[in-house]
Symmetry: C2
Subunit: 452 residues, 2 copies
């Protein structure tokens, strides 16, 4: 338990318990300030592994930790569950959706990002599932597993659509989901079904740009990623621009792909808090911040992580939406606040690029750090070490490591549960949907043993 500050010490309010907000909170443990962290969820989520929950490899509790239990020993900090409705920078007040108002001396906006359908929220989000929250991941898990269950019970002509999975977006999330889904079908579910052959499932990864991992990775690694995905049987389609998504599947300019399950990994947008009046915005919609991560004319208000657009001195583009950016900014603003409290001058924020990585599957990954470029087994081993290392909490590290060892050795996955109310009622709906008359589905070869 760290020492308690004076009752009159300044109050730091942090919105969001992600990587940035949590890093700031922990770094403020030894500063003479009171800290309140507000989040809509009670848990910090290790987003980089969320796709593993969606693909039935890990349980939610393995990658999510109650924020309270992370900061339980920090005497100057409290955690509140609540949703922020607005920020009044003139009166230094934050209002919650339930009407509560909280005053602050320093404010750190670290509310993160959410899925963006580029203006098609209403019609596309019904069919293409985003992947930003634990609930999202559980819904994808449920839908993917239900598609196999429905295919097992469906007549042969309906199986092709049920066993087609489209992932839209070839960034790290899309690549990771596609690889894990292909492995699920090829290795994990094999032997489990009787009427269908899970390895005949199609996994199609669509990317509008000319290469995968176009943001941040070198072109050679993009090609490596594509070839590693191809080894797993993923159909990678580059330059594939989605024009429409509906109950039949995904429609491109020159083709339509019938699919019962569609995952959307194509874009994120800042938390709606960034749209509050009076806050300066970057062209990307994120909050424009100064060299010290503060909002212009408000040195006591900071924005960090995915909600902020920080332009390094000599760069045209803001820093990318990475955990390492958010963590470094969180630690920096904690130090900037400590400097202000102690009447010292703030330094400029400086981002240290630690590199980026994406995993494609068992023993397959790409990694780029400075001039170092790796792919394959070594990149994958480094990916495993880094991700376990950064998982907060001893318990989770052990649980994840064990889950992975077990999956690696046995090619099985431990979290293949279909939950949610009355899942079985979704089956007829999934199976009944008629194939489009224009593109009749071909009966897939099957090894049906006996129809009851």
């Amino acid at each position: 338990m760290t020492g308690a500050p004076a009752p009159t010490a300044p109050h730091v309010l942090i919105i969001g318990g992600g990587f940035g907000g949590l890093a700031a909170l922990r770094r403020l443990a030894w500063s003479p300030v009171w800290v309140t962290l507000i989040d809509r969820r009670n848990h910090h989520l290790f987003q980089p592994l969320l796709y593993q929950v969606a693909m039935a490899g890990l349980s939610p509790a393995s990658i999510a930790t109650p924020i309270r239990s992370i900061v339980r020993r920090q005497g100057n900090a409290q955690v509140l569950l609540g949703s922020v409705a607005g920020v009044d920078m003139e009166r230094k007040l934050v209002s919650l959706e339930d009407g509560t108002r909280l005053g602050y001396d320093y404010l750190i906006i670290a509310a993160g990002a959410q899925t963006s359908y580029f203006g098609h929220e209403g019609d596309w989000s019904k069919f293409a599932l985003g992947l930003k929250t634990v609930e999202d991941a559980l819904e994808i898990r449920r839908r993917v597993l239900l598609a196999f269950e429905a295919a097992e019970r469906a007549p042969p002509h309906a199986r092709r659509r049920l066993l087609s999975f489209v992932i839209i977006g070839g960034g790290p999330t899309g690549v990771e989901v596609a690889g894990a889904l292909a492995e699920l079908a090829r290795y994990v579910l094999t032997d489990d079904f009787r009427a269908i052959e899970p390895r005949q499932a199609r996994v199609i990864l669509l990317e509008a740009a000319g290469r995968l991992l176009a943001n941040g990775f070198n072109q050679k690694l993009s090609h490596k990623a594509a070839s590693q995905l191809a080894e797993l049987g993923v159909e990678v389609r580059l330059g594939a621009k989605v024009e429409r998504i509906d109950e039949f599947g995904v429609h491109l300019a020159d083709d339509s792909i019938e699919a019962a399950t569609i995952v959307w990994a194509a874009g994120v947008q800042p938390n709606p808090l960034a749209q509050a009046p009076g806050l300066p915005r970057h062209g990307s919609g994120r909050l424009q911040v100064e060299a010290d991560c503060s909002i212009k004319d408000h040195p006591e208000v900071f924005a960090i992580g995915d909600i902020a657009a920080y332009l390094p001195r000599s760069a045209a583009n803001p820093l990318p939406g990475l955990a390492s950016v958010a963590i470094q900014q969180g630690r920096y603003v904690a130090q900037a606040i400590a400097a202000s409290v102690n009447n010292r001058r703030r330094r400029r924020f400086h981002y240290r690029d630690k590199g980026i990585m994406a995993t494609i599957g068992r023993s397959r990954a790409v990694l780029e750090a400075g001039s170092l470029r790796l792919s394959g087994r070594l990149a994958w081993l480094l990916w495993v070490v880094v991700h376990i290392w950064y998982l907060i909490g001893f318990h989770n590290r052990v649980a994840v490591m064990l889950s992975w060892c077990w999956s690696y050795l046995t090619y099985r996955r431990g979290a293949r549960l279909i939950t949610g109310e009355r899942s079985w009622e979704m089956l007829p709906k999934l199976m009944e949907r008629p194939p489009r008359p224009s593109s009749p589905s071909q009966p897939s070869s099957s090894r049906r043993r006996r129809s009851a």
Copy 2:
């Protein structure tokens, strides 16, 4: 992979993938029959540990295994996800809710039980949460954790109701939930909150009968259980008959208990399938079965486990709803079917009582097997060994054991996630509910450090 039977081999249909259905299916692996198991869920649930999920000690995947993956190597078995609507014993057909019909030569009805509110389903189930499914457990977990979150943000006078937890029913489930909830408040959540003191939470266990664990346990062990609960701070009220449950709490004949969270562990009833016309029913509503677990005049139809009422030769009461009864009956009917297929005579089913146990908390349990009666640490150790042993699947055993070791050593729990859509919106609803004018709640003492 076991050998495949001839295509014309008899077809055994099993309804339900619980302890009974699964035991029957596995025992039929070497019989010359085809087996189809139908369940509404894709997973077998280890019910005896479900309360651990509700109390944030274990993740759902630690106690639930996909039925498919359990029987993946059994070549004569297939698993279908679906909900049974009815049984036509004359035409030997089972119909599913989606209209599918499945023929059978032998039928095993092992559909289990569900929560019963004794005719108050409509008005009580809204306020008192049952505990039979993974979804039930996650909802209880969410509500319990949200109650603490709401209390942290609520004004002092509203905290007492939020921190009052009532468990109705003093059978094994009620005892286990009460003990685990008391430990959660006293040991796990301590240090996590700032405005409230979690150990001041009240945990009240209501039992209508004159003693706890009245079904099956010796009177001495009932007293031991009550005193072990009292050590943990649980208020045990015997002879407490619930007259009404509403948004304020639980109303007894002579008292009312204000509580925001109520868990219902007072009763179960057989799956509604037992009400199908033409099936003989016992006074308990369960299916009346013959000495060989079959339905009268239908030697090809069996009912086992919680849905069946089996009367041992010299007993007035049917066998209790225990996993060991279901497992033994499952194995027995598999042998009875094998006997019929091979034109051998069936023997009468004989139940071997292996004893019963209930855990109360860390190092606290009661156990009764024949003339052996144990309580305290030794009973608890045996409870741990037995439960891990019976958990199906190597992975789960390791995961559960590790979770327990970790919880035992650190008094922390790893699955304290509040999930489900927009949980934070429940907070104001939880907090706003006015206390009853007739019994004003007393402001609890607090250690509020700073109001923001």
